[in-house]
Amino acid sequence: MLAELPRAIGGRAPDVFSPGGWVKMREYGLDEEVDFLIVGTGAGGGTLAARLAELGFSVVALDAGPYFRPLDEFASDETEQSKLYWQDRRICTGKDPLQMGGKNSGKAVGGSMVHFAMVSLRFRPEWFKSRTQLGYGADWPLDWREMWQYYRQAELALSISGPVSYPWGPKRPRYPYRAHEINAAGRWLARGAEALGMKWAETPLATVSAPRGKSPPCVYRGFCRFGCSTNAKQSALTVWIPRALAAGAEIRDLAMAGRIEVNEADRVTGVHFHRQDAWHFQRARNVVVAGYAVETPRLLLNSANARHPHGLANSSGLVGKYFMTQSNQAVFGRMEDEVRWYKGPPSLTLTEHWNYEDRKDFFGGYCWMAQGPLPIEWAFIQTGARGLWGEALRQDMMNYNHQVGLKMVGETLPNKNNAVTLADERDQYGLRIPRITFSWGENDHRLIAHAIGQMTQSLEAIGAEEIFPQWEDANHLAGTARMGFTAETSVVTADCRSWDIPNLWVCDGSVFPTTGGVNPSLTIQAIALRTADRIKTMAQNGEL
């Protein structure tokens, strides 16, 4: 497709904070056995690369995507910015085949954080023990009190803008930066929540409300989910990767990992990767897979060999299994007033009411947030949810500036039958492509129906007209390399370390045993921060 040349090469990497600029980068030889070779530079890999390098380890991080400079390469344009998505071949199947290659994917240095909606929420504490405390899903081998400290670390690192006091969950310090001004779409969410007797809050967001380092405050241009062209957004690209480089890590862009090599002693020795039209092999003492819930299991499965015929780290047979997404259904309506929801971050307010209220007839929770779809996405909603076309569609689209909407992020229960497997077809690198099987379960349907009912009530309460639900949508991914308590029931330990191969690690959303009812990025980063600390401890104890 795009014939591009790597940029992070020759001792320098792109400076994301200046047009056409460069920063120094340390480089390692292919034969140099680096301490950690990380595959993927998003919320998991980017964060881990920074912390491991800062702790003194030698680190090389590969990313299959290009290394962008936001200031001169990010357009205010939905179509152009699809260059941020993972659009390699994938097959989707199941009763409810997912739509891939959009917001649930990322192929760029910084991963999908480059275009994430910046929503930075903590899990409800009980979700780490949802099996024993709430009766569904699986327990995490992590303690929420420990995670609470890592959440705080992540919030400080990203200078999260949020409310002085957050209305749900255990007490937490005020957010580092003041909350953003609320746009019209966010105000309507608040009024609807109040009418229903629910609390609401300004959404904690990873875009700065005041200057921070080289990041200017957000100018409310509204294209957040298509890449931030001003660098107000705090992401792996603008926070973790620069820190990783400064601490001596090497980033290799346009470097696609194809196979992890394992020796006779069942230790990984490095990774075969494709860059500049050729395959190379990087030696490493440890390999961390951080490619997210599709590419991570794909790489582990594609690395099968005679000693590991079913793929690496897969003695449990669970690599690729328990694939999850989050329900992302919505309700939309039309106001007499002008809303112009294209301005500002799309989700400036939220309610987590149903994450913390347990009197309901389904397992799991959900939140909902204000919305601001840009024209193409709005047209997809109109055609997808209402089947509109023809003059009816064109006329209805003219109400764009009067629309309001509420969109959920809901918990999907882990189901072993939802899975990432390998198809026989191959991609442009000659690697077998993933087949992604997904169907909603009975509980998922109940949770979604409940959410749509509640969101409809909220829009009715503010006097919205022509209210309609969007029954079909999904977003964040998880599962496929779950962490757990035993080698038989999980792929990695609490430290994100493979049970089977002790110098193989997984650090991204794949390790989630359950999804929770909030956006996952902050939890992924918190896990990466914890993993880095654990690795340091294990190294000191001679346990690596």
């Binding site: 001003t230 709005w378 997809f380 003219m398 764009y400």
Partner: protein, 213 residues
């Protein structure tokens, strides 16, 4: 029906503070898309153009958005990649199969090609496709309802609502970097946003919109 945002042309901001160079380049390329098929054959193109003209009928009196040309360009670049929902083949091939199947449907019902059907007949066939009614070997790999919902509608609406003409039509502010916006509350807009024609303010809206820049 009268314009909702009379006189508003989002392109009048092109040289201003709301557009950066990379946005200008991307939109310029889109506006300059070749108006003839490169991916589709002439026969497929004729059917595609007719489909587009019914899915998004465009008003007279302004240059039309070249929807078919934009889809052709997309298939040329991305037709063999991305997500494939089983049992459909990759996008480009799926489009070719579906256009042939639709043309065959027109032939069997009306004994003429889809491209020459009148509005009513074309809409009836498209409606049947949306409801998943056609069957037979021609539709085996492009189940009509699935293709209609997952390829036909998204590709056509993406081409149309990704074009500045459509942004002006719906009053979208368009590209917004580096300037962004200041007035975010209900019923507020910045001077560089479109004003909507309501009641008897059409002349005022037109005057405002002329100076958007």
């Amino acid at each position: 029906m009268a314009e909702r945002f009379p006189g508003y042309d989002v392109l009048s901001k092109r040289a201003g503070l709301s557009w950066n160079d990379v946005t200008r380049r991307a939109v310029d390329l889109r506006l300059a898309v070749p108006r003839e098929p490169r991916f589709f054959t002439m026969a497929e193109w004729a059917v595609l153009e007719r489909v587009c003209s019914r899915i998004l009928p465009q008003p007279a009196g302004r240059p039309p958005v070249p929807i078919a040309a934009l889809i052709d360009a997309k298939m040329l670049t991305y037709g063999e990649t991305g997500t494939r929902i089983e049992p459909m083949p990759w996008d480009g091939e799926a489009w070719k199969l579906a256009l042939a199947a639709l043309d065959g449907q027109a032939d069997s019902v009306h004994h003429r090609g889809f491209a020459t059907l009148d509005d009513e007949a074309a809409d009836a066939l498209l409606g049947a496709m949306q409801r998943g009614e056609p069957s037979g070997p021609a539709w085996a790999r492009v189940p009509p309802a699935l293709f209609f919902a997952k390829r036909l509608l998204p590709d056509i609406t993406e081409a149309y609502y990704g074009h500045p003409t459509a942004w002006s039509e719906i009053g979208f502010g368009g590209p917004a970097s580096p300037r962004g916006y200041v007035r975010m509350d209900t019923n507020r807009h910045d001077p560089w946003e479109a004003e909507e024609a309501k009641g008897d303010n059409i002349a005022k809206a037109r005057r405002h919109n002329r100076y958007v820049g």
